[in-house]
């Protein structure tokens, strides 16, 4: 390997020949970007509202929709969205107040639905010889996105972003305090339902990209990373969207390159690289925020860092 310089070497190692001409790559970049933008924006509110578990459950239950879609021969996206919306509606029905009871109920229903998914996936691979279905549904496959799924993803993504923009202020207020929001006339219950439905759509989109099991990785990871750094909601959403997009692009690039990596064949899964990038971003942000926490804060809370030596009264 003779390099023309360090950057030439890095360049030829990073971008395998034909990357920019490949049609599946174009599609993957388009779909991956749309998914990352929506996930980043919705993810910030998911983290703020403490609904990461609900997001995970929504995403996992999408497995049922995806495997069912293969059985009837339609795009798994429809299965994800269908199940996502129905489950989000049910979650809203089963109490907003009692979070603990809701988590337990969600866990029980999740188990039942994943059990049914196992049966559907078995039928997919036996009756329909769709042996790749299991991997595609559980871990996603950006390179084989095709047909109606492409425009559908873009349209759902735009709808999702528009919904975030519309709900922005009432969501912020009710995430801070439902009492405060309700007293100001925010229809807290309906805003909560709208957000759950939005989360259902968002995890459906990320399931297309990284699969139902990893769906929340794109939803929670970039948002949690951004929230460690950003001080304003708009900044946090922009950062989360950018980080998710960067992770997705890195994933697409490395996955395309990995066709030549052992074992030779189809290349390593995109989602492996995407999720790894998301994780690395999170670790870096965590390190950064820890270092910042050591430095004195302007107008800071002296009380919080004062040790046991501080006297009282």
């Amino acid at each position: 390997m003779t390099a023309t310089g360090p950057w030439g070497l890095v360049g030829s190692m990073l971008v395998a020949p034909g990357f920019f001409q490949s049609q599946p790559v174009h599609t993957a970049v388009l779909v991956g970007t749309v998914v990352s933008l929506v996930s980043g924006c919705v993810g910030v509110f998911t983290v703020i509202r403490g609904q990461a578990f609900a997001g995970e459950a929504l995403s996992d239950m999408g497995t049922l929709g995806g495997s069912g879609s293969y059985l009837v021969g339609v795009s798994p996206l429809w299965g994800y969205v269908g199940v996502g919306l129905v489950v989000a509606g049910c979650m809203d029905l089963f109490g907003v107040e009692r979070r603990r009871g809701r988590d337990v109920a969600t866990g029980v229903v999740l188990g039942a639905m994943l059990g049914l998914s196992a049966l559907f996936l078995y039928w997919d691979s036996t009756y329909h010889a769709a042996s790749g279905a299991t991997i595609t549904i559980l871990f996603g496959s950006l390179f084989i996105v095709s047909g109606i799924t492409i425009p559908a993803t873009v349209v759902l993504g735009v709808v999702g972003l528009a919904t975030v923009a519309v709900l922005y202020r009432p969501l912020l207020l009710s995430s801070l305090s439902t009492d405060l929001a309700a007293a100001r006339g925010v229809p807290v219950r309906r805003v909560g339902l709208a957000f759950l439905l939005l989360m259902g759509v968002s995890v459906s989109l990320s399931s297309v990209a990284v699969g139902t099991i990893l769906g929340t990785a794109l939803l929670i990871g970039p948002a949690a990373t951004a929230l460690k750094v950003a001080r304003r909601p708009g900044t946090a959403m922009a950062m989360a969207a950018a980080l998710g997009t960067a992770a997705t692009w890195i994933g697409i690039l490395l996955s395309y390159d990995s066709v030549d990596w052992p074992p030779h064949g189809r290349g390593w899964p995109v989602s492996f690289f995407v999720v790894t990038a998301v994780f690395v971003f999170y670790l870096l942000a965590d390190l950064w925020s820890r270092r910042r926490a050591v430095a004195p804060h302007p107008g800071g809370r002296v009380r919080a860092v004062a040790g046991p030596a501080s006297g009282t009264g």
């Binding site: 910030v44 405060l180 100001r184 950003a230 304003r232 900044t235 302007p298 107008g299 809370r301």
Partner: protein
């Protein structure tokens, strides 16, 4: 029962009459009535579970009473009235929430509206002015999660005041505050009532921090309420009647202590109660 009255020729900012609320087959509020006049500082005093939060939910229009009338500014109670600012009890701020003090104050202008907020010089000035009015300039750009309890309370008051309400309702704003923050918040609220003419209705389980600024007190116990000035209400016979149980009122170093039990027998070793003031 209500002692004293409303200044003549002016509608009260808030008036309740015969408000009755049953929750879970139990009367929480029973025939509660009182008024709050313009710029008055009214303390709603009662122990935990006395129904203070329930009463506020009724006033805010979040809970419909089984009986009774609530009037705001002389008009029949309208749901989600803009003329009421509210600071709820225990706003648990997630340390990661990406909002600065000034963002929360700005949400007080139009936080209930749908769509993205429009930024403008006038809006920014209004927020800056309010931050100044509640002494929050120093931490205006600090994240909510990094504020102390007293600082957060002041920002919440700014959030509630910026829409220009005629009545400010605060649910246990002094709970969990250290003594200095407690005093600062009370002083701030007293100033709000006195200078901007905004009526303040504040709940607390201890009336003592409020004594310097409080115009009237509404004492809540057993679902019933008595209102009037401190001298009219905080008296053994009035409170014993309210509790349905002998109650004594002690005045110690300018503080008022309400204790249960029969009046101590002289010479039994218990210190004799100071004479009830007023």
């Amino acid at each position: 029962m209500t002692y004293g009255g409303q200044p003549p020729g002016e509608d009260p900012v808030l008036s309740l009459a015969g408000v009755t609320v049953w929750l879970g087959g139990r009367p929480v509020l029973d025939d509660v009535g009182f008024t709050v006049g313009r710029g008055q500082f009214v303390g709603l005093i009662g122990s935990n579970g006395a129904g203070k939060t329930t009463l506020f939910r009724v006033v805010l229009g979040l809970l419909a009473p089984q009986a009774g009338v609530v009037r705001l500014g002389g008009r029949p109670w309208a749901r989600r009235s803009r003329s009421v600012g509210y600071v709820p009890q225990k706003v648990a701020v997630d340390p990661d929430i990406p909002l600065r003090a000034r963002d929360l104050v700005a949400l007080g202008i139009d936080g209930q509206r749908f769509g993205f907020p429009l930024r403008g010089a006038a809006r920014r000035r209004a927020v800056d002015d309010m931050l100044g009015a509640v002494d929050a300039e120093r931490f205006a750009d600090t994240r909510l999660g990094q504020l102390s309890g007293g600082e957060l309370q002041r920002v919440l008051i700014g959030h509630a005041l910026i829409s220009g309400p005629r009545l400010l309702i605060l649910d246990e704003p002094l709970a969990n505050l250290d003594l200095r923050s407690e005093q600062e918040v009370v002083e701030l609220l007293g100033r709000v009532a006195r200078e901007s003419g905004v009526a303040v209705l504040l709940s607390a389980h201890d009336m003592n921090p409020l004594l310097p600024v409080m115009d009237r007190v509404v004492y809540l116990a057993n679902g019933h309420a008595v209102s009037g000035t401190t001298e009219e209400v905080i008296r053994p016979e009035v409170l014993s009647d309210l509790y349905g149980h002998p109650v004594d009122v002690l005045h110690v170093h300018g503080r008022i202590i309400v204790v249960a039990g029969p009046t101590p027998v002289p010479g039994s070793g218990t210190p004799p109660p100071a004479s009830a003031g007023g």
